[in-house]
Symmetry: C2
């Protein structure tokens, strides 16, 4: 079981080298990240984009791109389609966004012919290594689905459980979060959390343990959970997956961790047939490299 | 301007000694906190409750209560009413919860004859000292109002601005938060954030600068805010007051900070005629002492 990003990277190093296909690769931040990923034996890359610009950008940040295969394509959206097709056809293992707007990038992910549709809706997972927690935390959905319905939440759980299992967690514990830990008919988030728990009890959501609603302390702080009394609870401060009621709660917590505490993290899109890396320009290089490592672990698990 | 809890405590030390009236004081955690507050010259206390039990609990944790006035009252709710009346009558400056359920405590706060009603609804503010931010952050409402309406949000801003001003911030910057920083008709939180900003521009909300919707990075991270482009913005990573869209978002962020990063914090209830301290049993002693210091600063400001 991977308890840290170092564990994840060690796991990646022990598998066959994975390949990330970058769509529109002429971007300094992305080239830096794939270069570090290559040096740390995390992943190789195929760079799709404007070859002259890729070389120019690489030279400006002292990155040696002669180590990578480059596929020349000047048109950004065509480059994205060519990159995602590499993953679709099995010539690469994961797909990463370069200097392309997010909307066009997602359009390429969902392309009916060369994209990575799985049938499930896409969702986002942010994985954190938090010093006070002795295992990785999977936060979802903090960036993609604004107001998930109950049905969306079931799919988000399925998508995220796949990622947690790829990280070696055989039976992930899923905490549907809220401000309180009891179902309150006046708080829809708590009602849906209770419904998800019931669906898990009745075998409609499998491969994981769901217990909610839970406040964040009961979900991730063993001492607080024991202190408050946790009788009859399946999760006692030991949740792996934190399911947020909506994007505001999820995104604010995510940014709170990133912008106040700077804990290690990495993110991928899930619900696809291969992992998709959609990092933000403001992510650090370390976060981008962690995201590639996370994608590589998931790609390995999907092969088996 | 107080930029830390040490600053706040220094400010309290320079004022006349304030008095906290504790309702149902026979509680080890509360007695420990008022004892530390007394030793650090933050506040004196009047303990209302079962005198024999107060002395017994104090002895068991080596706290000397002979330094405090004790008012003997065995019945918990009557003790709460006697304590809140001390504040109502000006014989004490702030009111603190002892071993009484929250519902009864709030009933005493809102008692028509001896309580602390101000006309505004009650709200909660959590004040944090975050290492990456060079000033105190005021988070609201993370514990009290589940789904604030636009009108509630106006009152929450008013209540919290009072606290920020008491801490020396003349013109607090208020960030109504959301997952995104543009108004999106499909996201009610962003629409209300835009409305609050307009009400501030038009002079309906005064004594502060409101600018939203804002994502958390644009609200508290100057570098991220500059990076993303902040033209035309009144808040560029320098928000004082963080207004959450609902209790789930607020409470999850609050608990995230407390349970992963352990930054210094203190909380009070506002919207009353005198500050009210409603700490949770699981709060650390330091948090309780910080809450007393925060209440003392607000009590001093309310006198003037």
């Amino acid at each position: 079981m991977s308890k840290s990003f170092d564990d994840l990277i060690a796991k990646v190093n022990s598998c066959g080298m994975k390949k990330v296909a970058v769509g529109v690769a002429q971007d300094a931040h992305v080239l830096e990240a794939v270069s570090v990923a290559k040096e740390r034996n995390i992943a190789d890359a195929i760079l799709v984009g404007d070859e002259a610009k890729i070389k120019e950008v690489a030279a400006s940040i002292n990155v040696d791109v002669s180590r990578f295969q480059i596929i020349h394509e000047e048109d950004p959206y065509t480059a994205a389609l060519k990159a995602v097709k590499l993953v679709h056809d099995g010539d690469a293992d994961m797909y990463m966004k370069g200097v392309l707007d997010t909307k066009s990038f997602l359009k390429s992910v969902l392309d009916k012919e060369v994209g990575l549709r799985s049938g499930n809706p896409l969702s986002h997972v942010a994985v954190f290594e938090v010093p006070t927690v002795d295992h990785l935390l999977f936060l979802t959905d903090v960036a993609f689905i604004p107001y998930p319905t109950l049905e969306d939440k079931v799919h988000i759980i399925e998508n995220t459980v796949t990622v947690a299992k790829a990280c070696g967690i055989d039976m992930p514990k899923v905490a549907p979060l809220a401000a309180v830990e009891i179902v309150n008919p006046k708080m829809p988030a708590t009602v849906e959390a209770g419904e998800l728990t019931k669906m898990n009890d009745e075998g409609q959501i499998t491969g994981c343990i769901v217990d909610g609603p839970l406040s964040l302390d009961l979900a991730i702080d063993k001492e607080a959970a024991a202190h408050k009394g946790a009788e009859g609870r399946k999760i006692v401060g030991d949740a792996d997956i934190l399911l947020f009621p909506d994007i505001h709660a999820g995104n604010l917590v995510y940014k709170c961790i990133v912008h106040t505490a700077e804990f290690k993290n990495g993110c991928i899109l899930t619900g696809t047939t291969a992992p998709v890396i959609l990092t933000s320009r403001s992510d650090s290089c370390e976060t981008k490299v962690n995201s590639i490592a996370l994608a590589a672990v998931v790609a390995e698990a999907m092969k088996n």
